[in-house]
Amino acid sequence: MPDIIELSIVVVGAFLAMCMFSTLYGKSSPMYALAEESYLGFATGLTIVVNVLYLYNTGIVGIRAGDWVLSFGFLLGFMIVVRIFPKYSYISRIPIAITLGSGLGLGLRTTIFTGFLDQIRGTIIQLFSGSAKTLLYQWTIAICVLFTLPFFLYTVELKGPLGWVAKIGEYLMYISFGASFAQTFMGRLGLFVGFMQYYTVPDWKIPILVLSMIIVLALIVALDKTNLLARLTPEE
């Protein structure tokens, strides 16, 4: 049997989770607003705590170990925070420029390969060697890529042979979207199944989950029938 702490965690968690699910009823409710503001507040607090620790572990500890150059990170960081004051927000432009520039350098130096050159190489290599299955796969990939690329040509009119290629590419895209939507649904379903598993394993959690569902549903229906739902729902 669970102790009082574990029990309270499950009771509060199940109730708030069902409050959040109440949006499926189709109307906004004060229960959903309570769950939403709870998550917003506590998650923001969590992010503050974790980021402060990150700054300490990465920055302060490094500076204490002799890496004084890292103090520039704090200087530039405070300059960005000055953006809160509109009169002095121009001070944040230089740190923004530096982070943007280095971020672009970091991103572009690798994305050129992983997102472009390696993708082209992966498409055209192995078109003439390998097993029958490999050849079928590679030729299908190559044809799909070539026939759908015209969609991203915005400065050329798609007519003549290019138009025909784009038309066939459209059909290939629909096949691919069908497969992709199925995989996306699998992902969404997995998220929900995983969440429900948390509240059905072990067995003692099940009555708490069911009771929370019933209480929240009863509350929302009662508020709706008595026309209190709109009146008690916070303004957005």
């Binding site: 503050i48 990465t58 944040s92 799909c144 290939l172 629909y174 995989q183 649904f185 948390y198």
Partner: protein, 211 residues
Amino acid sequence: MSAFFKSREVILTAAGLAFVATFVPYFVTIPELSVISTKLVTITALVNAFTLALAVHSQFMRGMYFVRRRSRGWILKAYMMVTIVLMVIFATMGQDKGPYNWVMLAIVNPLSSVNYGILAFYMASTCARAFRARNMKALLFLAAGFIVLFYQAPLTGSIFPGIEPVALYLTDTFAMAITRTFTMSVTLGAIIFGARVLMGKQPQVLGLGGE
């Protein structure tokens, strides 16, 4: 002094130098430049963490707006701001056990899970109500979707093993190829956008278009 910070040339130079300092050492090994690059990258990591302060400030400002106006439900906005402060206080009491851990397990984690878990419902509803075989393209879409959906249900794969090669062919070729096309296009777009920013042709990004 303010003219220095507002100067277009200074800002573009800072961005350009930071770009060169992180981009060039990746391809050309110059020991001194590599050291500068590594330090600059760590400094950038630290600076990015500070941007959270701006988000928290926005959150508080928005909450205060509702509280000051006494809008319907303002108490919940006040509650939200109190919970931010409470969580920070709880963290100082220890993160292993105690109220911080309790809030994580009882509030943050379940609500985070529902946030995304609820998408299953919306997606199921959308799929059931919008996916109609109106024409050939929609029919192809549904056919491919059905085959992959059937395959993804583990029971089908064990009862009808023949569905696996068909479903894998659809996912490992068509789906992958289109994603590859999108990846290449997005990458090219990102490269061009980056070049435009560094050349000063996207002034708003660097805050040069006015505050």
